[in-house]
Symmetry: D4
Subunit: 168 residues, 8 copies
Amino acid sequence: MPGKPLVAIIMGSDSDLPIMKEASKLLNDFGVRFEVKVLSAHRTPELARKFAMNAKRDGFQVIIAGAGGAAHLAGVLASHTTLPVIGVPIETKYLKGIDSLFSTVQMPGGVPVSCMSIGKSGAKNAGISALQILALRDIKIHRKLDLFRKDMVKVIKKKNKNLNLRVG
Amino acid sequence: MPGKPLVAIIMGSDSDLPIMKEASKLLNDFGVRFEVKVLSAHRTPELARKFAMNAKRDGFQVIIAGAGGAAHLAGVLASHTTLPVIGVPIETKYLKGIDSLFSTVQMPGGVPVSCMSIGKSGAKNAGISALQILALRDIKIHRKLDLFRKDMVKVIKKKNKNLNLRVG
Amino acid sequence: MPGKPLVAIIMGSDSDLPIMKEASKLLNDFGVRFEVKVLSAHRTPELARKFAMNAKRDGFQVIIAGAGGAAHLAGVLASHTTLPVIGVPIETKYLKGIDSLFSTVQMPGGVPVSCMSIGKSGAKNAGISALQILALRDIKIHRKLDLFRKDMVKVIKKKNKNLNLRVG
Amino acid sequence: MPGKPLVAIIMGSDSDLPIMKEASKLLNDFGVRFEVKVLSAHRTPELARKFAMNAKRDGFQVIIAGAGGAAHLAGVLASHTTLPVIGVPIETKYLKGIDSLFSTVQMPGGVPVSCMSIGKSGAKNAGISALQILALRDIKIHRKLDLFRKDMVKVIKKKNKNLNLRVG
Amino acid sequence: MPGKPLVAIIMGSDSDLPIMKEASKLLNDFGVRFEVKVLSAHRTPELARKFAMNAKRDGFQVIIAGAGGAAHLAGVLASHTTLPVIGVPIETKYLKGIDSLFSTVQMPGGVPVSCMSIGKSGAKNAGISALQILALRDIKIHRKLDLFRKDMVKVIKKKNKNLNLRVG
Amino acid sequence: MPGKPLVAIIMGSDSDLPIMKEASKLLNDFGVRFEVKVLSAHRTPELARKFAMNAKRDGFQVIIAGAGGAAHLAGVLASHTTLPVIGVPIETKYLKGIDSLFSTVQMPGGVPVSCMSIGKSGAKNAGISALQILALRDIKIHRKLDLFRKDMVKVIKKKNKNLNLRVG
Amino acid sequence: MPGKPLVAIIMGSDSDLPIMKEASKLLNDFGVRFEVKVLSAHRTPELARKFAMNAKRDGFQVIIAGAGGAAHLAGVLASHTTLPVIGVPIETKYLKGIDSLFSTVQMPGGVPVSCMSIGKSGAKNAGISALQILALRDIKIHRKLDLFRKDMVKVIKKKNKNLNLRVG
Amino acid sequence: MPGKPLVAIIMGSDSDLPIMKEASKLLNDFGVRFEVKVLSAHRTPELARKFAMNAKRDGFQVIIAGAGGAAHLAGVLASHTTLPVIGVPIETKYLKGIDSLFSTVQMPGGVPVSCMSIGKSGAKNAGISALQILALRDIKIHRKLDLFRKDMVKVIKKKNKNLNLRVG
């Protein structure tokens, strides 16, 4: 896919990659250009700041940010840009992502972060959410989203057929 | 503001109006057309469904949905449209909105809801979030968002001056 | 068992089957006809709606619905029928079912869902709960429920005998 | 309303009456006979036990039980009867009813309690839930439930009209 | 150890035995007679009631009760006796024992349960707690408790010596 | 009441007095001698230590300790004595006593604290719990406890009579 | 107090001033120079960054930061300096500061924040904590801290005298 | 490293060593002398008290304390010294360290504990936090901390290079 990436997928640590790949796979399937980066709000604040300040100028339309614990990444990026920022709370070892969720979702009035569910389903939905925003000006993505929805119905209808064989 | 509304602000009960007005005030300030409606996922499922199914055709670009408790409203609307749906968890009397938050944010992979913080700041951020999406194709909104950010800085700088008089 | 099913067991995903089988096993043991279906509140809203709207006409007396996360399934079904709807919160990977519990139990006044405990014991109790409702007009089920209770006492009495051999 | 009561509304303390009246009001509106009693699982275990053991024989079809804190009432009643028992977790001063919710809903496999939401909406839904069970064999209650649903839609439609005057 | 048992160790399910053995081991080490029983508040309410009503007459001085989930066992036993009842919240699969804790500890004024920590350490402490009560009238147990404390100090002192070899 | 006090009621701050008076009132009603003291685990560790080390020698049989937040008081007292220590978690302004509860109840194996419910009902139950321990060797207290139970039944029976006038 | 301030008290909003004054009062009492500033991690990220980057050069020894909700302030300041950063979680309207606590305390390995308790007691302790750090190289502060501790003991001893008049 | 240790690493149980080694490794890397000890607030209160009372005289500048459950260790040490005390909440089996966190962080006004995040990252940050305090008077540690920060940036930059190879 030539051309500049439209979506940035930022994660606080490369250990978050197996989670955040749910977002990149989806963008890939839809043929939308994206870039993946590790940027820590706490360990690389300057890199995170520069990325966010230049994101609009660099052609990005949506930023997806995944982080765990005191998950400040999405909020820090959002403080440096007016692009839509989608936050994915990553599971933590002890508090199971409730800390990540509160740190991502409870943003003060004025600087929003669009928070998804915890973990893989959240990362997948971050990808779909970015696509829904892009679809507002791109009829091809819009049509693909409609097909994506119809496929979900087909999958479940098929599962119901198999189900009858498994119960009883 | 003539023309069709671009943003729908849906709430589960008219008692949520004082909260959700934070979103409508902001859209009003930015000169963006919107519509406000009470639609309950549980008490008026047919009305909610029809609204969501027709929302794109009716010209809406973004849906904001606020609800409390087993807050299914944003999820139910999102199940009937591929427009971006922004969810605002409304405070509840007993569990203080933690139930609304979980019911809004923990959506399964495939059907995203963009969850904001609980209550008024969340409603305000839902408005800003909608504007950030619209700003991707509307340079005027984009510029106003930049000014909005700069105003926040001015307000805090001014508060710091007053602060020195209040401490010590 | 010929004739129309009296109880519907609906689940949000076929991965919930190992949990929800606790309900079907029990209905099977009691000789009560039932049907098992995968219907997602979010991915197949039209299928879920149609099922619920027709459930009474189709002869169902009780609906059991199991779902996890932002578990809207029981609530969505309840919004389309006045049949008793029993909700089973399914465990989630990160929040361990507390999200499923809040999304299932915290229904607004007007549209009840009868919430069971999280996971397998909840699914089993959903089956018993359906039987207790059916027993109000079916003396055979009523008698079987009495025997079921007596069996539980026998099991525990027997365990106490074995216990004495294991402690000491 | 002459004849034996069909629904029992039991509460752990008479201070729970303002909450539990939401259930009795509804049964009253539907013309269903009921009885209200204070019975504590801990302070009057013998009274609670005798009530539950005789409830079926005394003509009751459904038991509603509201209690707070280590809310054992619904579970204790359920242990002595196979009638459907609907539990209403009452708000507590410190933990806000999360303790009542867990104590009511997390019943072990074998002895179900149908748990409603915390507080007033839960009590109201307990009433509706009881009516939905009774409606399975009483066409009049069934029709009234349908009207009750339609009235909810009317109320919301009316609210939407007033809403337009309040926003903007 | 001839004679009647002084302490009863009751558990809601025989699957709780590996936890509750922490209590029986300790009583065994101190030479205090005890009895272990499975009694469920919900599945065998009559057995539980009779046990508790007769416990004092049967010579018991302290009752230890371990249960999980909507853990009503300790509360139900306490409602039928004025003997000290010590509750041990057993871990649950999904909510990790926070449900057991709330159901055990949040007893209403008038009927106390002495709640221990969740799981094995709680069961062990239930044993010690029972011994501390018995020690008020038994100088031998009192002295053994003092030695038990001193042994804990010795163990930690010894660990500190080994620690120096492991760090550095 | 001449003679040495048998029960000590210790609180972390004199602001806890309105809560802890629930315990002292009860002991007073039963004619049991007690002493009330403010001792902070953190602000007066030496006073707390000396009190606990000498408590047995000074004739105390039971120690009741109420504290809020990182409520270390009961645990610190328990670390210096083998007398039964009953802990009352006091409500806190922000976390509503869940912090006090965890800090009081989650004691490590070896040093038990008997935890009561949060706040006033917990303080009242601490008093009853102390009486239940003392009753093991004092037949008068035992008889009064039986009467106390019977009075609770009478109160509830009376409330049921008044209830009939208030409902319907 | 002439000379450069040693401690910075930063808060996310001037509405936090009544809380954070607990810290400034204490520093004032100890004669330690400090500066109070409103700096928002999200609304004024550049001001917050510059302050933290220059804090050491400007002579600060300790930074105290109070914020609520998705409380990123302490973490953001800590990411730009190696000075000790003490975080005070400010109570929030809905989640009561549990969100602020998790967002402040759950910092990733590499960039610590020293988290205090929620609200006023936390702000007070932030002041004492700063003083304990400064006391390592300032014998006067060290002595004052010792006196401060002794005063706490005196206050409690005095309260015990008054207590005897209030109980019984 | 000759000379007296500057930092004490205290843990409630030697099973906490794998967690607390994160702190000792870091101090070792920075060439700062430290001592590791097992001291239980509950099982060895006298040892803990003596250690804390003498810590300053013995040359310690900072105390790090890790404990789980009703984690009183940091608070108990802090009650006997005015040295900075850094608390590390250790994960517990059932409540996952939320109990340890509340017991460590919710200290009353007057006696601060600097609380780190739960588990290994918290122990590592306790080490860094101690170094940040020592760095105020030791330019070498200060420089090493700056390098440590720069190394974190290098590591993440390098990870970004590898990332491009893994995505796509």
